[in-house]
Amino acid sequence: MSIRQFAFVFALVLAGSLLPLVGGLGNALAADPPQATTLKVVQPADQQPGKPVLLSAKLTNAAGQPVGNQTINFYIIPGVFGPDAMMSAGRAVTDSTGTAEFPYTPTWIGDVKAAVSFNGTATLAGSQATFQFKAVGPVRGHTNAKFGLQAVRDWAPWVVAALVAIIWGTFITVVVRVAIAMRSGGPKSTSPTTAGESLAGAKP
């Protein structure tokens, strides 16, 4: 291969390598910037006992039109690991009205801070929102069993009281019976081993 031929092949390879870069730059320069979006949270009602809370958010574009078929992430902010640390609760996809709904059962009672987030796409910018609702319980993981350890806890005081009553009943019965027997009359024993007074000959 001559130097001219080599230079030609090298130029082709170089051009081929640069083409995607040039094309990308061109596309980038030509494309519109991602469209702004807005996530609006539908404030959930306080949690009903034993039922999950329906977390709901509506995604709209800059024109206020609903954006469907996009994934929305739902988070809980427990506050334990820092004021901004979020725990993923789950995700849902927006419907034709731009609404994504996720049923969530709180794991503690009281105010629950939450967040929703849309990560964005090439044409849609990401957005997020925070909100708060109240969990009134009972909560998952702490529900009262109809039968089981909770029932044992309910019975424990009565079981303990019954056992203590049996023990003290026995104590009192023993003491009263011995006291009555000691006051009873009748002849004293003549056995040298059971009545102290007849052990006159013993040498202590």
Partner: protein, 441 residues
């Protein structure tokens, strides 16, 4: 032709004579030891007064290790107490023929150790008035409240268990000792004899009552170590998460109770010259019991640690601390010096004598104290937070002084008790012989 064999166990006359010997025998040795023990107890009281004034900061306890020597002492002393009580009850119920020299001592050890051990939760509270909070604000769901309930019941049970067989012996002292004892003791004997005359009805009721209390004290006494065990096992701490803790503690209690009995038996035998009553055969029989109990305890301990160690992940700090870490010397000293060597000493014929068995039993008692410390402290020393560090606990001079004083209080109590009451049950020995010869009811 029949050959009269000398029984290895004492005769009735020997027992009766020996039983009252300590009552009449004082002397400078008794008073000297009494003074020394009283001084040690006084030092403990002073140390506790200092702790009350300055607060728990004068101890080695801190925010993490809040149960150090004090709770180890509670388990240890209470363990000796209910171990002794259960051993006595089982001997009575199974009519062990050689029990007569032992039951009174076992029951007295039971009361003395219980009184000493029951003080430690109050000491651990810092301010004694907080003990009232356990009753005023106690939650029935808390094992701490269960502990208050079972210990209270147990103290009453062990008092009754000790007192009932003492009634006829009080009558014996009332009628036989006469002017040999002072006026106060005569009044005491008359009062505690509560009119005993050895009548058939009295004997029947007393016999039944002793049997009832022997039966009752077994579950009541077993409940105390069980609840103490649950105090640990239901708490989320490394090393305490175990289902066998309750029987493990009951076994430990009986083991240390019988070992303590052997030591006390040897001391009482020597001090009051009771060689004819407490024979080498008694020591051998108890020694065989110690072998069985020690082996069983070893089995429980291996079962506990194998289960825990097999599942141990990177967070096995507590077990590593005990087996290979900073407290390994104490653990292996306990295993070798507190169980294996004492068992061998009792098992081998050339060391199976009174001295050998007593030394072995003493090593077992010390070993069991170390084991209680190894249960309580390492579990608290390890942090349950991811970034937490191991805490180092060292008992302060205050805790050590109070512990020594509590230990001294037990022989002090026994000395005073046996100065007032027969060291051996005269009545029960007589009843057994009468029953054997057909005189019984």
């Amino acid at each position: 032709m029949t050959i009269a064999l000398k029984s290895p166990f004492p005769t009735q006359a020997e027992i009766r004579e020996a039983a009252v010997k300590p009552i009449l025998q004082g002397g400078w040795k008794w008073w000297g030891l009494f003074a020394v023990l009283t001084a040690i107890i006084a030092a403990g009281v002073a140390a506790y007064g200092y702790q009350v004034m300055k607060g728990l900061s004068v101890t080695g306890l801190d925010q993490r290790v809040s149960w150090g020597f004090y709770i180890s002492n509670l388990i240890f002393f209470m363990g000796i107490s209910y171990g002794a009580a259960i051993a006595s009850a089982v001997m009575r119920l199974t009519s062990v023929p050689w029990r007569h020299g032992l039951t009174r001592m076992l029951e007295t050890i039971g009361l003395a150790a219980a009184l000493s051990g029951a003080l430690f939760p109050v000491l651990d509270l810092g301010r004694p008035d907080r003990a009232w909070y356990l009753i005023r604000y106690g939650q029935i769901g808390s094992p701490v409240v269960w502990d208050v309930i079972v210990v209270t019941n147990y103290l009453v049970a062990v008092l009754l268990f000790l007192y009932l067989p003492l009634i006829p012996d009080m009558a014996f002292c009332r009628d036989q000792l006469g002017q040999k004892v002072g006026r106060i003791r005569r009044i005491l004997y008359r009062g505690l004899a509560v009119g005993w005359g050895g009548r058939p009805n009295q004997r029947r009721v007393l016999g039944q009552s002793i049997t009832v209390m022997s039966i009752l004290i077994i579950p009541v006494a077993a409940a105390v170590p069980s609840v103490l065990a649950w105090l640990f096992a239901v708490t989320v701490r490394p090393g305490w998460d175990s289902t066998i803790f309750a029987p493990y503690f009951v076994l430990a209690a009986i083991f240390s109770g019988v070992a303590a009995l052997v030591v006390v038996l040897a001391l009482v035998r020597k001090a009051y010259h009771l060689e004819s009553v407490i024979t080498e055969q008694h020591f051998k029989m108890l020694g065989y019991g110690l072998i069985a109990l020690g082996a069983a305890y070893l089995y429980f301990m291996v079962a506990e640690y194998v289960t825990e160690g097999y599942k141990m992940g990177e967070s096995g700090t507590q077990l590593e601390l005990v087996l290979t870490g900073r407290l390994a010397w104490l653990f292996w000293t306990f295993v070798i010096g507190g169980i294996i060597l004492p068992i061998l000493a009792i098992a081998l014929p050339f060391t199976r004598n009174i001295l050998g068995i007593t030394i072995a039993a003493f090593a077992m008692v010390l070993g069991m104290y170390a084991k209680r410390f190894l249960i309580v402290v390492p579990g608290l020393a390890e942090s349950i937070l991811p970034a937490g560090k191991l805490t180092i606990y060292h008992p302060s001079w205050v805790e050590i002084t109070i512990t020594v004083a509590a230990a001294a209080a037990i022989p002090w109590f026994l000395m005073v008790f046996f100065r007032l009451f027969p060291v051996i049950s005269i009545y029960e020995d007589g009843t057994a012989e009468a029953a054997a010869s057909g005189e019984g009811e």
